[in-house]
């Protein structure tokens, strides 16, 4: 068997340099992806915040309108806050049309209302789920989970 040996003082072979550059390129590519991943992670925190706000908004709205408002919402009288249906937030919202960032259009929302009665008190369990729309970027769909907010709103005299 013949073993290739290298004498001290011999230079690098061309193939060795090519392999070294290839390895370096692969490692660089991996590092670039790592930083891209980290960048996306930072933006994900921002999108998560937007999704949380979009989930809190109908709850805040229904708290503000009171029990009467919830009943009107259950009858789908507020086009901005449709019940039991996934609706894209890219559609113009009459209530807050101009003051929302473009990123809002990346999400869709579903509001569920469950009536509850405890002794003499009536109320509703409001559940809002926000998720990225299917047309949003793949990174958002892969890495972002649904955001859910729930609240009890009671009928108060």
């Amino acid at each position: 068997m013949r073993i290739a040996t290298k004498k001290l003082g011999d230079g690098f072979a061309f193939s060795e340099i090519l392999i070294a550059i290839l390895l370096f390129g692969l490692i660089s590519l991996y590092l670039m992806q790592l930083f891209n991943f980290s960048n996306q992670g930072t933006m994900l925190v921002y999108y998560q915040h937007i999704a949380e706000k979009l989930a809190e908004e109908p709850i805040e709205f229904l708290r503000g309108t009171g029990y009467e408002g919830i009943i009107a919402c259950e009858q789908n009288k507020f086009p901005e806050y449709k019940v039991d249906i996934w609706h894209s937030l890219a559609d113009s919202n009459e209530l807050t049309a101009d003051d929302r960032p473009d990123a809002v259009s990346l999400f869709e929302r579903k509001i569920s209302l469950s009536p509850t009665v405890a002794e003499d008190t009536r109320g509703y369990l409001v559940r809002v789920v926000v998720r990225p729309v299917s047309t949003s970027s793949s990174f958002l769909q892969k890495r972002m989970e649904e955001v859910t907010c729930s609240a009890f709103i009671l009928e108060r005299p």
């Binding site: 550059i21 670039m32 915040h49 009171g66 009107a72």
Partner: protein, 246 residues
């Protein structure tokens, strides 16, 4: 003589080839390092803006939700009375001030020497949000001042990276003559490179130039206004008998 030939110095060609090879490795490495640093700085800036934005949003929400009006006897209440807006049309956002009264944060304890006549009267806190120009930057400062009767004024700079700020009233009609009122809060925080301090073009987000803009929004309502609007004939109580006095 043989020794000298054996240990000869490197030739210019070898040196040039060596430098070229090192450059081949160092140029992409340098570019990679620069991107890594830029990416890391961007991440830190976004996190910083996020934290500041969330803090401001929570603070404004709390103030608006607890907003109310000094009350002594019967009066006609309008939603617009809750916020006082001062703005000069020429100056744009800079110089704008939004003021309101809010329920105090501190609990109010009943003292033995308490004036029974005013037992149901709560002293209010006066809160103002003021927008001012920043030094050496196109971005603005958002300053919150809080005044509670008998105590020194608390002044806090919430951010010096404000790009846009708006609080607008929203009305939603309910059944019959009933309606609900809200505030829609929208603001932007941004970071700009130093060389943009003198430019006057509108700011648009561009990461490659180091311009980052984050939008924040919120919906809030006044519990005081809602309780009065929905129960107009109820007698005044601890929550609705209010006063502000220096």
């Amino acid at each position: 003589m043989r020794n000298i030939l054996k240990h000869r110095a490197i030739t210019l060609t070898e040196l040039l080839v060596g430098i070229s090879l090192i450059s081949l490795v160092l140029i992409p490495a340098g570019s990679l390092y620069r991107n890594m640093v830029r990416s890391s700085v961007t991440g830190i800036l976004i996190n910083d803006l996020m934290n500041t934005g969330k803090r401001i949003s929570a603070q404004i929400h709390d103030d608006l939700q607890n907003s109310c009006l000094p009350y002594r006897g019967a009066f006609q209440l309008s939603f617009d009375d809750l916020l006082q807006l001062h703005q000069s049309e020429d100056a744009g956002l800079a110089g704008m001030e939004i003021c309101l009264y809010r329920y105090p944060r501190q609990p109010v304890y009943v003292k033995e020497s308490h004036d029974l006549k005013n037992f149901n009267i709560v002293k209010l806190t006066r809160v103002c949000y003021r927008i001012e120009k920043s030094e050496n930057s196109r971005l603005l400062k958002l300053i919150r001042t809080e005044t509670f009767p008998g105590q020194p004024e608390i002044v806090k700079v919430l951010s010096d990276k404000l790009n846009f700020f708006k609080v607008s009233p929203l009305r939603k009609k309910l059944s019959g003559s009933k309606e609900a009122w809200f505030w829609d809060v929208a603001f932007q925080l941004a970071t700009l490179p130093q060389n943009m301090a003198d430019q006057k073009d509108p700011i648009t987000a561009d990461r490659s130039k180091g311009i980052l803009i984050l939008d924040f929004f919120d919906l809030a309502y006044s519990e005081f206004y809602n309780s009065l609007a929905n129960n107009q004939f109820s007698p005044r109580n601890w929550n609705t008998g209010l006063v502000f006095q220096f």
